[in-house]
Symmetry: C2
Subunit: 425 residues, 2 copies
């Protein structure tokens, strides 16, 4: 080992960033890699997809967030493989440094959406993991209303105004609620040939209830709130096909222009290069210390990490990733100092999801709330938690304006092509 | 003519939007077409390209801006040709309505950048006309600094940190000033391997001075301000090649990763379908009434319109487009009512360009100002003039924050690929 230990962190999400912060001031050299130049506040990504917030409101350059931490170098790079023999990370070639050696590695590259073994569904049903995903969803949703306004065939209009969301977890619930508000409130006055409020919004969940990780009473509250907003909620419904024309649920077909994917996720394919056993979702089984079995120099955090606590796998949420990232970094420092590693213990501060304006569900310790009060809790926690004071002020301003006017300020269709497959603008 | 006259407006820019507004409440049916769903406040587009403002700060959905005007239909459509015999506009096929009949047509489709007969230069030197252009420039500029940080070869680093802007009009001056501030101020603390303030920024102008439409004293002031910011200004320098490796000026080569185009423009190719004479920049020669010679039902406004006043062609700026759009609409109403058409007369309210924080040049009537005072004028006029109260508040907030912190909040690299030509993220 060189005199100053080199720690490489892969991923600038919640796990990687909190790992980096936990190494502030330590006598180590840290390099953090990400293939995006920004840290993304994922819990609000659905608000970019539904035209309420701008990308700049929920994303900050990683190197800006860490600018004062002088022992850290931030590199824009796509980590391609981990060479556990040479102890180095291989990067996308042709752009300067092509490998980075590590004494310790913290793997926090996150997850991407997965289509239950049907990757071809991805062409018709975008998921929501990155800013570009969110802009693509915003584009497809707004374009569907525009196309319907110009369409003359009523069947085609109905198809354009049908939106299917697959997956009834927090992301699916939040997308469905926001889409319903867009159709019934924000766009109400703006069209002449169509009535946007006639749009049909379906939320399809394979399990018996929405928000399966929440208490049953909150699942029921979310279901009722969405129904009041005009969302058709279908539980115990397994999507069997997704194509350009809509979705199939068993032998029933729903014809829809827009299908959004909020169901399965899979860990970053980078995990495969470790050569260790992965679970069905591609996650690395971690030891209680967050080290990878057989690789004492490698730790794993966040959505790439499979770790059970009290008999259940920890969920892929921001709080777990943050706590794991910080813990992995502290264990790296312990290893460097020859101290015994500490086991990780997740402290659950709560769980919440918004449904719409003034409507949310929240579970914090023994407190269970729904409706207005839950929404206020949701709002303050998210504002407080946003990275950067400047973003906080901006997001609060947007929300206050939207709350009063029912409008969404970022209703922009961007992207190089107008319609799918059409020529470049 | 049908009982209620049908007026079609092509283009939702400054010309088209003010034409639409001038028809509010008139006993006509209006359809406004644009291939984007938003009106863009172009004078601030360079601030999106240089990471100060978000797209949502300077763009608003056209149908939202016009939502209360009940005689107007807004359609997202790419007008392909004008059939002056059948009196209809042909649209991009396959998306509902494929043609729209008009009794009167107002052509305000604007201009795009043009490369002096070298369209292949466009692959290496993006111009700045649309939101997508601005996001592409932002992406290339930020990516150059990221790539330099990762690069190990000093020559390659120098190439990555060289930025060439071609064209010394307002857009070129504003881009150069903002780039200099990014390199010398905003990014200062954020890198470890490179010194962003060592970036080389060149502004190349073919004519003898910058801002050729401004008084000479203001051109000199802008030149001096840019030099103080560290921009190398080269006047009387004609770019003869643009390729992946930089630009040639005669037999001198400047090796640069990033070349931005702020030079020539050409009117929308839609003008060609009229079958009338066009000038060298593809513009339609208008009669003093803004009607097209030989086509009394067609009027033209904005960057598509070539009209001389007092011996000089009116410039392609927002104020000209707005006044022409409104005038064309009023002349359409006169034609419908059987009244004589009025000739157009441009009222010049002034001319201004920013160079950086607290630095601008402005000419308003006989007042000529540069420096701080000009910048304050610039700021208040632009804030006052922005569409929508909400955007005003947001932009003012961003500017205040940037002014104090020297930071830029929207330093995000978005787009589906990481590096040019690399695989999809």
């Amino acid at each position: 080992m060189s005199s100053v230990p080199e720690i490489v962190i892969i991923g600038g999400g919640f796990g990687g960033l909190d790992a980096a912060r936990a190494l502030a001031g330590a006598p180590v050299r840290v390099t953090i890699l990400d293939r995006h130049n920004y840290h993304l506040f994922q819990p609000l990504l659905y608000q970019v997809a539904t035209a309420s917030l701008s990308p700049g409101d929920i994303a900050s350059p990683i190197r800006w967030v860490l600018r004062r931490q002088s022992n850290i170098t931030v590199l824009l790079a796509d980590a391609r493989a981990i060479d556990t023999v040479a102890n180095q990370v291989q990067l996308d070639p042709g752009h300067g440094r092509e490998a980075i050696a590590y004494d310790y590695l913290i793997l926090a590259a996150g997850a991407t959406h997965a289509y239950f073994g049907h990757p071809e569904w991805g062409n018709h049903a975008p998921g929501l993991k990155t800013l570009d995903d969110a802009l693509e969803i915003r584009r497809q949703v707004l374009l569907a209303f525009e196309a319907a306004e110009r369409e003359t065939d009523p069947d085609a209009q109905r198809r354009l105004l049908t939106f299917v969301i697959v997956g009834g977890g927090p992301t699916g619930v939040e997308l469905a609620g926001a889409l319903a508000e867009i159709a019934r409130q924000s766009l109400k006055q703006d069209f002449r040939a169509i009535r946007p409020e006639s749009a049909r919004i379906l939320l399809i969940e394979g399990g018996p209830r929405l928000l399966s990780t929440f208490p049953e009473a909150l699942s029921a509250a979310a279901h009722a709130s969405l129904t009041r907003l005009g969302v058709e909620v279908r539980t115990s419904s397994i999507v069997t096909t997704v194509d350009a024309d809509g979705v199939g649920i068993g032998d029933q077909r729903i014809t829809a222009q827009t299908v959004l994917w909020a169901a399965g996720v899979a860990a970053s394919p980078l995990a495969k290069s470790l050569g260790v056993d992965l679970d069905r979702a591609g996650r690395v089984a971690a030891e209680p210390t967050l080290a990878v079995a057989g690789h004492p120099r490698i730790f794993v955090a966040g959505d790439m990490c499979a770790l059970a606590q009290d008999g259940a796998l920890l969920p892929g949420v921001a709080q777990v990733a943050k706590q794991e990232g910080a813990h992995a970094a502290r264990n790296v420092l312990r290893a460097i100092n020859g101290q015994p590693l500490a086991p990780f213990r997740y402290r659950d501060y709560g769980n919440m999801a918004t449904i719409g304006r003034g409507s949310a569900v929240a579970e914090i310790g023994s407190l269970k709330a729904s409706g207005w009060f839950a929404w206020l809790i949701w709002l303050f926690i998210h504002i407080f938690w946003l990275i950067g004071f400047r973003n906080r002020a901006s997001v609060l301003g947007e929300w206050a304006w939207s709350y009063v006017t029912l409008q969404r300020r970022v209703r922009l269709i961007t992207g190089e092509r107008l319609w799918p497959g059409s020529r470049r603008l």
